[in-house]
Symmetry: C2
Subunit: 377 residues, 2 copies
DNA sequence: GATAGCTTCTGTACCGATACAGTAAGCCTC
DNA sequence: GAGGCTTACTGTATCGGTACAGAAGCTATC
């Protein structure tokens, strides 16, 4: 077989047993069973179910395995026979590289992996693309997957669905029957907007992604934007601003990036009658607003109040520090991990598993810092 | 079998074929083969080697598969039969959570995944621990692995070695026979130290991890610290400072964290005769030095020059911006990814693959900003 | 001293695919 | 119209394990 023929049997020569047993070719359970003089099943048990044989025999088996340079049951074969893989996938729309630049996403993945580690589950990052021959969402063995903010990326998601894998949707509306972990964005966003109202602001700017609206038009939360998250945040803001009857100027930005944010805030500040406060989709956007405003000679918060979102590290590095809505990333990660393991348990019909999809809301909280102040007179 | 018995066949009811074919139980290649009236092999080819059968038949097969709600060849079985998994592992010593808090590590993983995506390879994060029943390094199917700064974590590494997996060591000395991707730390560190010498500093502080030395003792690069990286950096610094005959005060910090860095710099500044410049293990440490120095009423760089390492985002957020040694994380990630794919190709004996382990050095470069200045008179 | 209940090991029957060689038919080519 | 290529499909032999139901021997129990 080509796949084994050329495997260089002598890499790392001194780091595994020296193969004194003289085993040629591939060492399998059977090789060891023959050497020790027991059945293959016993060798399997020696590795995977130690309580099924005497310690004495187990040690003889393990010693022989060591001598033959046998690393333990072949993971691929084990996965097939057991029907369980020990890995869960994480699907990302954005290129994985971009996702990791975002401290929010990175911290979330970290928390997920952290929570999963004790269970022995590894996390596989699934690029949503791939070659024709290899589509990770379709071809990687896994026990379940997290679908993370995959706006409209139905290709990869539908592979996961067809495989009937237990799925948890994070920061994104779940498909029917699947679990979800969502940020409870509305109350946080609402509190942020209320905070501005309390400070006397009567004209509020909104700088967000996912709404293709011309400047000056207040976004309608009912109207489907591309992003679930931005929709929720807008809904929260508007739930305070709308009833208050204040003026709202929304500017859509193409992407949650410094560049587009700068473009957006420039547009907004160039309006004949500009808002006195801006609610931003993210801390990154808010941070950019501070930069641009300063360039234009505006003082923050005296001339312009700015509110971010996420309470990411930049919120505290900003000058002045950002008023923002905190999301507890560790909690979100933990929730995602446990919801997924529970969904997996459910798919196996294990006792104690939930009997339907679960939906977790992770709380958000307004954090007031120096970037917001009373409306100018 | 327990593992299939309880799988709820009716999750996501409307998202895959409605199973009108009336197939009961598990749908496999054979099920479809029987329906269509062809051999199982033909169905396999329809999915995996489209050029092996007529388009007409292929479409009939695919349509039947769709109708039966068949998602495609079972990944686990495919992995076993093909001998290739489509995933590579990344082994981390630190808890995965901590690793992701570090923007350097996060950016590196991102770059790796990015580079790997077009090849269809997924990246599996392997926690170094796990339960007894499940040790990722031993039990997850993969084609190769990256070992990332796993100081002394021989447990998990030795599992990878025993499996004879193609391995690439990153930011860490490789084992014999394995490839490596290392930062070319010495020239960068040397340039940083030389920069301080050029500015007239005659007493330089070193704040790093991995050296258990009392304050005031210059670290000996030959002496093994725990961390390969800190050793290299110290070696680079000393290669300039040593010959210059200037005074060096080293303070060891327990961990690359704000807390320990603060403790370290306080110790250093409390010395009767304190250094006029500090070389730091990382930008995070340097950033902390700036904070603490400011608290103590020292001006930077007038009273104290500070040099960071990595050129991470904090270097530019710092006040003043940090003079630092830049490492090209994207390049490091790309190098790690391609070195690994080449090592995998080599293990398969593919044409064009290298015939031995490869060792890549990623260049570093001094970036001078505002945190360094002439030595005080 | 027969029954029951461990502990320890074994035999059989899968798990669900792919590789490779082979066969049969169709199409040229000279 | 025989030999040689293609194209399209099939049969057989794995890939390397695990689950589960025995079976054999040994110790308690009453």
């Amino acid at each position: 077989m080509t796949q084994t023929a050329a495997r260089p049997a002598d890499a790392y020569p001194d780091l595994y047993g020296s193969n004194e047993g003289g085993a040629v070719g591939r060492v399998t359970l059977q090789t060891i069973a023959d050497q020790v003089g027991v059945s293959r099943m016993t060798v399997s048990n020696a590795f995977s179910r130690p309580d099924q044989l005497s310690t004495e025999l187990r040690e003889r088996v393990l010693a022989t395995a060591e001598k033959l340079g046998y690393a333990g049951p072949d993971p691929a074969a084990r996965v097939l026979a057991r029907g369980t893989t020990g890995a869960v996938g994480v699907l990302l729309t954005e290129s994985v590289g971009t996702a990791f630049q975002d401290p929010i996403a990175a911290a979330f993945f970290g928390a997920v992996a952290e929570e999963l580690a004790p269970t022995g589950l590894a996390v596989a990052l699934l690029p949503s693309v791939g070659s024709a021959a290899m589509i990770p969402a379709r071809d990687i063995p896994m026990d379940g997957a997290l679908v993370y903010a995959c706006a409209g990326d139905l290709g990869a998601v539908s592979f996961l669905l067809r495989r009937r894998l237990p799925l948890v949707f994070v920061d994104q509306a779940p498909v029917e029957g699947a679990s979800s972990v969502l940020l409870d964005d509305r109350p946080g966003a609402r509190a942020a907007a209320q905070h501005l109202l309390d400070l006397g602001h009567r004209h509020v700017g909104i700088l967000t992604t996912g709404f293709g609206l011309p400047p000056g038009v207040a976004p309608d939360p009912a109207e489907a934007g591309t992003g679930y998250v931005s929709r929720e945040r807008v809904a929260g803001w508007m739930s305070a601003l709308g009833p208050a009857g204040v003026r709202v100027t929304a500017v859509n930005i193409t992407d949650n990036s410094e560049e587009y944010a700068a473009e957006g805030i420039r547009t907004m500040l160039a309006l004949p009658d500009r808002p006195t406060a801006v609610l931003c989709f993210s801390d990154l956007v808010a941070w950019t607003v501070e930069q641009v405003a300063r360039e234009q000679g505006l003082r923050i918060p005296e001339d312009l109040s700015v509110v971010g979102y996420d309470d990411s590290p930049v919120a505290r590095n900003a000058q002045p520090q950002l008023t923002t809505v905190r999301q507890d990333l560790a909690a979100k990660g933990r929730a995602a991990a446990t919801t997924l393991t529970r969904a997996i348990a459910r798919s196996r019909g294990e006792a104690g598993a939930p009997d339907g999809p679960e939906h977790v809301l992770v709380p958000t909280e307004l954090v007031v810092r120096g970037s917001t102040g009373p409306a100018p007179a």
